[in-house]
Amino acid sequence: MDNRQKEINNLKDYKYGFSTDIENIQAPKGLNEDVIKFISNIKKEPAWMLEFRLKAFERFKVLKEPDWQKPKFPKIDYQDLYYYSAPKSMKDKPKSLDELDPKLLETYKKLGIPLQEQARLNGIAVDAVFDSVSVATTFKDELTKQGIIFCPISEAIQNHPELVKKYLGSVIPTSDHFFATLNSAVFTDGSFVYIPEGVRCPMELSTYFRINASNTGQFERTLIIADKGSYVSYLEGCTAPMRDENQLHAANVELIALDDAEIKYSTVQNWYPGDKDGKGGIYNFVTKRGLCKGKNSKISWTQVETGSAITWKYPSCILKGDNSVGEFYSIAITNNHQKADTGTKMIHLGKNTKSKIISKGISAGSSDMTYRGLVDISSKAKNSTNYTQCDSLLMGNKCGAHTVPYIKNKNSESNIAHEATTSKISEEQLHYCQQRGLNPEEAVGLIVNGFCKEVLQQLPMEFAVEAQKLVGISLEGSVG
């Protein structure tokens, strides 16, 4: 067996499938006011925060789990989940990296997170999340010098309550849909970023998520605020250990861009997709929404979705400020029994707003993929434009690829263009590549990477390499 084949075999089984034994503090099982108070208490939150949570919980009680989505899943018993768990050694927060539990460090090492020297070399500030509590934050000093706040949201609640109070829930209110409201009630931790006026963040900010304790729904909350004239690029990458039970992940991500600000949010999601027969895997039900609040602001979402048993999310942009721009670039790959229902919403409210959607879906095996999107140009959004392109690639005749765009135009001075195609890799393309010495899998990898190029180009350098590799790995075994 040559080296390359060996490498492929190593990669075939889920690369990040392991879990670490650390004693957990857990809130009692189930969802009720006491559990919410427990979470709030253990995080030493101020009263207004508890009030926010309870308000969301009140609303949650009357909401019903939505059922309009394409991928169906067995009913989740929300009373059978743990809503809080934290590594025990976190009880007294470590002051430096050296104080960290060596076992945790080992986990990160296996994941390849450049927490210490590597981080410095790569110029990435890492806010690593292990289960639900942020463990370490690096590069703080360098960021602090510029006035940038990058910390776990629980810390921000303590240290910057005025900012959190003002913006938390301003894009995803506590009265939103089922999973978002659940998150508002029980979120444990996440990242908080504030870029002050006129500052261009000198490095890519990045968080690695990781789900560890079994049966723990993970509810992250991320809030990014870019003040006037600022710029930030934020990376989010996810890996999770191999587990049998389905794990629910319902995160909320809120982005706010004020006048002339720009936020670039990139995700590479590679959570455990379940085994070859569709057993296990993560439910990834994430609410991501950005508000272009100020004039000339810009929000750009880029996502590479290769993992999770079910991916169900629509990163959206509300283009409220005049001349604001929203972008959405997505690659979604499903294999075996994975299911994805993803897309975006572009809501044009301001004048001269522009949006662009590029979505590439690849489905193989017995998987199912849906692009679902909304473009809504309101009557006041004069002179707005949207361009949408969604392409699907099918591999095999057991999988499905669907496109469900909703297009609403209420303004005669605005233009919308939408295109969608569905095709397969042609025999000619494969033949051509193989004739030049590539094996079928390499050929497919090459062609698919070409298919996705438009989106991959949008990723920051550090991510692009990882993403390209992922695209190849995700499709292993789908040809021949």
Partner: protein, 415 residues
């Protein structure tokens, strides 16, 4: 509404000589409808057009009983000039005339099917309403190998005798092997504020060709819903053209099942709207076996507060390899208050297919207007020229030249 429905239903049943079993079935459908009511926007297919609300706002209280015991005189002035054709005339929902004067009598059979109730696949509460209140239902059977010499025009005429009424119609067509039919639905309304609920069922056998042109051109304040179900066998072709313009509200639904290999379906539509009108076309093309083809082109020109909706779905079964599906919708918004909504949907389970859709909406191109005006046309002339050219594209898709000219004359498009 419930009491009204019950009362009108009983009145209606009284005049019919139905068996106990048929009454039971009709009752069952009525109960279904009472249970569900008119479709509203909570239903995905009615998301953009809340019929319940539209009826409430435009008509108010509907009554469902139509006295069909007396005949109405057929007004020959509504007949199309300059084109010899066969006729079916509906006046206020009652069949007054069936006339196949140009055809061989033994090749067309008209079967009274009033007692059979068709269950429509993909149906909604309106099919229950239709089942409960339709009195007469005919099936028109075109026999093997017979191709109608002249087109058939169905006149849907309503006059001022009716007001706030619900009219239910149903027709079934069967086109046997190698047969063909050209069918024009012509709406002619001098009535106001009625709700027409029309169901057609077409069964196309091998090599059969159906061309259906629906023309709703004349201004009226009625609300219309029309559902076409088309089942297609091997090598059959269906062509549907919809001119959606006259009524206050109109929704045309096409559900087409391509069951046989090499079957193909074409759906083309034109919305030309003004004056607060709200029209919708919803099409579902089911590619159920291999080597089938569908093509859809919808164009709209929207003025003065009007609203058009296009929901098109291409479904491809996992057996339907080598499917070719195409769908394009384009619209021009002429007025600030006009609105275009689209939901072009693909649901695909086979990999060796060629499916695509496109949708675009926007204003008239200022550059093109400038070009024409710089060559001496007035603003108004340039605008008309551009709009005509835009719509002509769809009309040109009509494969029958006689009917193409007829429709061109009706809309006033000249080449």
């Amino acid at each position: 509404m419930k009491e009204q429905l019950q009362k009108d239903f009983d009145n209606n049943i009284k005049n019919l000589s139905l068996s106990q079993k048929d009454i039971e079935i009709k009752k069952f459908c009525l109960d279904n409808f009472i249970d569900k009511g008119f479709p509203n926007r909570k239903e995905e297919d009615w998301k953009f057009s809340d019929l319940n609300q539209i009826i409430k706002n435009n008509i108010g209280e509907l009554s469902f009983y139509n006295d069909q015991t007396s005949t109405s005189k057929v007004d020959t002035s509504v007949f199309v000039d300059g084109l010899e054709h066969n006729k079916i005339v509906f006046i206020n929902g009652r069949i007054e005339k069936i006339d196949f004067e140009y055809e061989k009598k033994d090749q067309i059979e008209i079967i009274d099917q009033s007692e059979t109730i068709n269950e429509f696949k993909n149906s909604n509460s309106l099919s229950d309403l239709n089942n409960a209140f339709t009195n007469k239902c005919f099936k028109i059977l075109v026999k093997k190998g017979y191709q109608l010499v002249k087109p058939l025009i169905i006149y849907h005429t309503t006059n001022s005798k009716i007001w706030s009424k619900n009219i239910n119609l149903r027709l079934n067509f069967e086109l046997d092997k190698d047969s063909s039919l050209r069918l024009i639905d012509l709406f002619n309304d001098t009535s106001e504020k009625n709700f027409l609920n029309i169901f057609y069922n077409f069964e196309l056998k091998e090599n059969a060709v159906l061309k259906n042109y629906k023309v709703d051109k004349f201004e009226n304040k009625n609300i219309k819903y029309s559902f076409n179900n088309i089942d297609q066998d091997k090598n059959s072709i269906s062509e549907t053209f919809i001119l959606s313009s006259g009524s206050n509200f109109s929704k045309n639904e096409i559900n087409c099942n391509l069951n046989g290999v090499y079957a193909s379906a074409f759906v083309n539509g034109v919305f030309s709207l003004n004056n607060d009108k709200h029209h919708e076309i919803r099409s579902v093309i089911n590619h159920l076996t291999e080597n089938t083809k569908s093509y859809q082109l919808i164009k709209s020109v929207l003025d003065e507060n009007s609203k058009a909706v296009y929901q098109g779905k291409i479904f491809v079964n996992s057996d339907a390899q080598k499917t070719d599906g195409y769908q394009l919708s384009k619209s021009i918004l002429l007025n600030k208050e006009s609105e275009f909504n689209a939901k072009p949907e693909l649901e695909i389970y086979a990999d060796d297919v060629k499916c695509s859709h496109g949708s675009a909406s926007g204003s008239l191109n200022e550059g093109s207007i400038f070009y024409l005006m710089s060559r001496g046309l007035s603003y108004q002339q340039s605008r008309e020229l551009l709009i005509n050219g835009f719509l002509l594209d769809v009309v040109e898709k009509i494969t029958d030249s006689e009917i193409k000219n007829l429709i061109k004359n009706m809309i006033g498009i000249e080449e």
